[in-house]
Subunit: 172 residues, 2 copies
DNA sequence: GTCCGCATGTAAGAAGTTACATGATTCT
DNA sequence: AGAATCATGTAACTTCTTACATGCGGAC
């Protein structure tokens, strides 16, 4: 077993809850439901499904129009999903461009720093607005509802940080 | 210019504030000060410095014991750093294993979900404790102080989410 | 019939991880 | 002398991004 393979896990989760689907379906669902926890486009998803099939985590039935393949999760795939959830210690490999900008603020003079923090603030505000518009998707058996709460909490924390920091910068 | 190159920027920031240093110095400083905003080990840093030197963002003086090279930021490097800070729109490419676990919670039964959230809670608690112990490093001219606040806010948000979620799971 | 969205992919390269390799200095 | 830590690197691999390529089906 490899160390990360989070994309696999996310795909297995969608297949387990939504039932069988094509790569295209998965890519769409990914975009609309899982994008804020793990981003991945179709160019990453298609080859990954092929590998997962080779590893016996999913099965593909080649079928219908323009070579559309429908993937179904196997018992082995379901096992892998549950094992990962129960046993994998999530890594805190943080890699955030806004946090990096925050880190580097002291190299700027005050006005520049204000500009940068205002932009970060707008980003958090936009993200928060987006999440507030997002309803936990129907037909997914609750999948994503807890992550949505987490996202909201993090976005609000970021927004609060930006406001505090702007106040500090303007006062100092 | 490439789209991301955040590692370069982080290194330029350290060189600008701390003054010249070797790859080893930078790797150490990275680990102790910037790790919570952008993780990178020496195997990534050494080759990157070579490329940055080739691009004229830093200069290396080969010197002293065991081939230790000291890198100094150039005006061009400083330019690049400031331009990035002022102009780069940070991307929100989120990729968090804990958020993914949160997303997938509904595939588990209640007791399993509680176990997973408790583990995530421990992680946020450990992170928070670590950040609370961390003092904004002296000798770095304030570098990292704002990112530290941001990290604290995010860790507290995560901890709060875990507590709320545990309450919900146990009540439901 | 032609345009648009559906649907599937490949290829090249950048970024990041893990494991390995090597030699110099300092401490005991 | 031996151990620990300083200090630098390479190689192989996985993961992710960007750009390109292709063909079907329905709408007009």
């Amino acid at each position: 077993m490899l160390s990360s393979m989070s994309l696999r896990i996310a795909l297995l989760g969608l297949l387990e809850v939504k039932g069988p689907g094509s790569g295209y379906d998965l890519a769409k669902t990914f975009e609309s439901t899982a994008h804020h926890v793990w981003a991945a486009g179709h160019t990453q998803i298609y080859p990954e499904l092929v590998k997962m099939a080779a590893d016996g985590l999913v099965v593909a039935e080649a079928e219908g129009a323009r070579g559309r393949k429908t993937y179904t999760i196997t018992p082995k795939g379901s096992d892998e999903l549950h094992t990962w959830l129960l046993e994998h210690e999530p890594s805190f490999a943080l890699r955030s461009e806004s946090a990096l900008q925050a880190f580097l603020l002291p190299v700027l003079d005050r006005d520049e720093a204000v500009t940068v923090v205002e932009r970060i603030r707008r980003h958090y505000a936009a993200w928060l607005a987006h999440l507030e518009r997002t309803q936990p998707p129907a037909g997914l058996n609750g999948l994503g509802r807890y992550a949505l709460d987490l996202g909201l909490a993090q976005a609000r924390a970021g927004l609060g940080w930006a406001d505090d920091t702007l106040a500090k910068l303007r006062a100092g």
